[in-house]
Amino acid sequence: MFERTKLILVACIAAFAALSPLIGGMNPYYFNILISVGISLILAVGLNLVNGYTGQFSLGHAGFMAVGAYLAAAMSLGILFPYLDPPQWAPTAEELAADPQATVAKWTYPFKALWLLFGWLINALFWCHNHIIPLGAALPGWGKFLFALFYGGAIAALAGLTVGVPSLRLKGDYLAIVTLGFNEIIRVVLQSADPVGASRGLPGIPLATNFFWTFTFAALAIYVVWNIVHSTYGRGFLAVRDDEIAAEAMGINTTKYKVLAFVIAAFFAGIAGGLYAHFFQYINPEGFNFMKSVDIVVMVILGGMGSMWGVCAAAVLLTILPEVLRKVAKIEALPEWAREIAENRMIIYSLILIILMLARPQGLFAGWVKKKTRPA
C-alpha cells in the first residue's frame, strides 16, 4: 500500500512537470481557475484532516493561510520587522525638561510588566525572522521561492501549535468559535501591521507560482494526509473522532493527536497561502476573513467529512462553481431574480449546507468510492 502510493505520487509529479510547459501557455482566465483549484485542494485536504478525520470543527483555516501568505511574501520581498520598544517606566529626559514634576502613572506598571513578557517573546520571534530572511535571499532561483513557501508553512504550523494547544481542550461548538476568533485576531493584527502594508494590503509580490508547484504541493498534501490516516499511527485520529472518551480509555493521547492534526493542516494552509500570494501578487487581510474559512469548510462538508476523494471533488467543484455562476448571471434569457441569486454565491452555498445537513449529512460524495480498508 505504502509503496504504491509513493509510486503514484512520483508519477503524478513527473506528469505535472511534463504538462507544465503545455499548460503555461493556455488562456490566462482558465489558467487562473486551474491554479485556484490547486490551492483549494491543498486547503480542503488539510482541513479534512482536522474536521473530517479527527472530528474537530475548525472554522479558522483562512487564518493559517494568511500567516503563510504574509510570511512567504515577506520572505520574497525581504521585509524585516522592526522591534517593539520596551515600555516606559519613568519619564524621559525631554519630558522632565519640559515639566520637572512629570511622572509615569503607577497603575500602568502591571500592564507594562505583562507587555514586557509578551513584548520580548514577540521581539524574539522578530529576531528569528530578521535573521532567516537573508538566508532565503541568498538562495538562487526556485530555491528562494521554495524556501519562502516552507518558511510560510512552518510559521503557520507554529501558529497552529499555539492555537491548537490551548483551544483543543474544547469541543464542538466552542472550538468552532475559538478558531473563528483566532482567525479574526490574525486578521485584525495584520490590518494594523504596518511593515506588511496594514489594511492597504501587500502589493508587488514576485510571480513564482506555476502549474507544476501548485499541483505538486496538492499531490503532496493528499499523499501525506492519506498515508497518515491509513497508517497504524493514524488510526489514533479516527479513534479521537469516533469516541474521544473511549479512545482516551484505550491509552490514546487525544490531545497529541488533535494538536498534530492542527499543525499538519496549518502547515499545508500556510503553503497554500504562499502559493496564493505568489500567484495573485497582492494580498490583503480582508481576503483571509471568516468567509474564506467558511468556503473551505463548505468544501469539506460537501465532499463528506473524512472522505478524501469526496473532499477533492468538492474542492474542484466549488472553485469552479463561482465562475460558472458568473457565466449564468450573464444569460439574458433568465429572469432577473435568478441572475441576481447566481451573482450572490453565498445564498447557494448556505442553501447547499442546510439541505445537505437535512438530507445527506455524510456529504455529497462520501461513500461513492469503495475501498478495501475504509476508515470508519
Binding site: L170, G172, S192, V294, I301, N344, M357
Partner: protein, 325 residues
C-alpha cells in the same frame, strides 16, 4: 472629581449601554443552549433582521413610489412623530416579527435534526446564518441603509450646579437602551420564574426525557424558547438602530459573536450569567477603545473568550459538569 475619573465614568456609561445590547442577544444564546444544548449560530442575524424589520415598517421614503397595503402601512407608521411611543411600537413589531422568524427557523431547520449528532446541527446553524446574511444582501442590497429617526437623540444636559459630572455626555438613546433592557429583563425573569411555561422551560433544561414523560409538550416549549430569544434579539436590533442609524445585512455577525462570548463568559445556559457577562464585555470593550486603541475593538471579545475558556471553561457563574459515559 478629577478629569481622569470623569473620563472613566464616561467610558463606563458607554460600556453599559453597549453591554445592554449584548445582554439582550446573549440571553437568546443561553436560553437555546439551556434547552437544546447547541449554539444557535443564526442568532446574531436575527438581531440584524430586527433592525431591518423596523426599517421596512418605518422608512416611508423608501416606499414612497410603491403602492399597496405594505407601503400604506409603512407610510402611516412613518407619519407618527418621533418619540417614545414610536420606539415602543417599533420594538413590539420587530419583536413579533423576529419571534415568528425564529420559530419558523426552528421548525424548518432544527426540529428535523434533533436526534442527530451535534456537529450536524452546528453546520446547519452556520448555514442558516449565512443564508440570512446573503439573502438579506439579495433583497436589501449590501450597502448600508439609514434607519428612520424613531426618537430625537440629544445629549441629556446635567445641571452645572452638580459640579464636574456636568461634563459627562449621556445620550437619550443610551438611557432608553439601558432602561428598555432592564424592563425586558424583568419581563423575562417573570416569564421564566413565575409562569407555567417558564417552569416547563426550566424543567426541559434539566431533563428533556423526564419532561416529556410528565406530559410537557416538548416541541411547543422549544419553539417558545426560540421565539422568546429571537424576540429579544429583535429588540436589540431596534435599540442599536436608535443609536447608530445605519443598518446593513452583515451587521449581525460581530455583535452575535460577541454576545456569544458574553454568554460563555457568564456561564452558558445561565440567564443571570449571560447578563453579567454581557455587561462585563461591553465595559471591557469600551475601555479598550478608550484607553488602548479602537483598532483592537473586535479582537477584545475573542481574547476574552480564549482567556475564560482556558481559566474557567464553565464561565463565571456556571457549574463544571464532567461528561459521563
Amino acid at each position: 472629581m478629577s478629569p481622569q475619573t470623569i473620563e472613566f465614568i464616561q467610558q463606563l456609561i458607554n460600556g453599559l449601554s453597549q453591554g445592554a445590547i449584548y445582554a439582550l442577544i446573549a440571553l437568546g444564546y443561553t436560553m437555546v443552549f439551556g434547552v437544546l444544548r447547541f449554539i444557535n449560530f443564526a442568532h446574531g442575524d436575527l438581531y440584524m433582521i430586527g433592525g431591518f424589520a423596523g426599517w421596512m415598517l418605518f422608512a416611508a421614503p423608501e416606499n414612497e413610489a410603491k403602492t399597496g397595503m405594505w407601503a400604506s402601512l409603512s407610510r402611516s407608521f412613518a407619519a407618527i412623530p418621533p418619540g417614545m411611543p414610536k420606539v415602543l411600537l417599533a420594538l413590539a413589531l420587530a419583536m413579533m416579527f423576529c419571534a415568528a422568524l425564529g420559530m419558523l427557523i426552528e421548525w424548518l431547520c432544527y426540529r428535523p435534526l434533533r436526534q442527530r449528532p451535534r456537529i450536524t446541527v452546528l453546520i446547519t446553524a452556520i448555514g442558516v446564518s449565512l443564508f440570512l446574511e446573503s439573502f438579506g444582501q439579495y433583497i436589501w442590497g449590501a450597502a448600508p441603509k439609514s434607519f428612520p429617526t424613531l426618537i430625537e437623540d440629544p445629549a441629556i444636559t446635567i445641571p452645572e450646579t452638580w459640579g464636574s459630572i456636568s461634563t459627562l455626555t449621556v445620550l437619550t438613546s443610551q438611557v432608553i437602551i439601558f432602561c428598555t433592557t432592564l424592563g425586558l429583563l424583568a419581563l423575562l425573569t417573570f416569564i421564566v420564574l413565575k409562569t407555567k411555561i417558564g417552569m416547563a422551560m426550566r424543567a426541559l433544561a434539566f431533563n428533556q426525557t423526564a419532561c416529556a414523560l410528565m406530559g410537557v409538550n416538548v416541541n411547543l416549549i422549544i419553539a417558545f424558547t426560540f421565539g422568546l430569544g429571537s424576540a429579544l434579539a429583535g429588540a436589540a436590533g431596534i435599540l442599536t438602530s436608535i443609536q447608530q442609524p445605519s443598518i446593513d445585512p452583515l451587521m449581525g455577525i460581530l455583535p452575535g459573536l460577541k454576545a456569544f462570548v458574553a454568554a460563555v463568559l457568564g456561564g452558558i445556559g445561565n440567564l443571570a450569567g449571560a447578563v453579567l457577562g454581557a455587561f462585563l464585555l461591553g465595559v471591557v470593550e469600551t475601555m479598550v477603545i478608550g484607553y488602548v486603541s479602537p483598532t483592537y475593538k473586535d479582537a477584545v471579545a475573542f481574547g476574552v473568550l480564549i482567556f475564560i475558556l482556558l481559566l474557567r471553561p464553565a464561565g463565571l457563574l456556571g457549574k463544571n459538569v464532567r461528561e459521563k459515559v
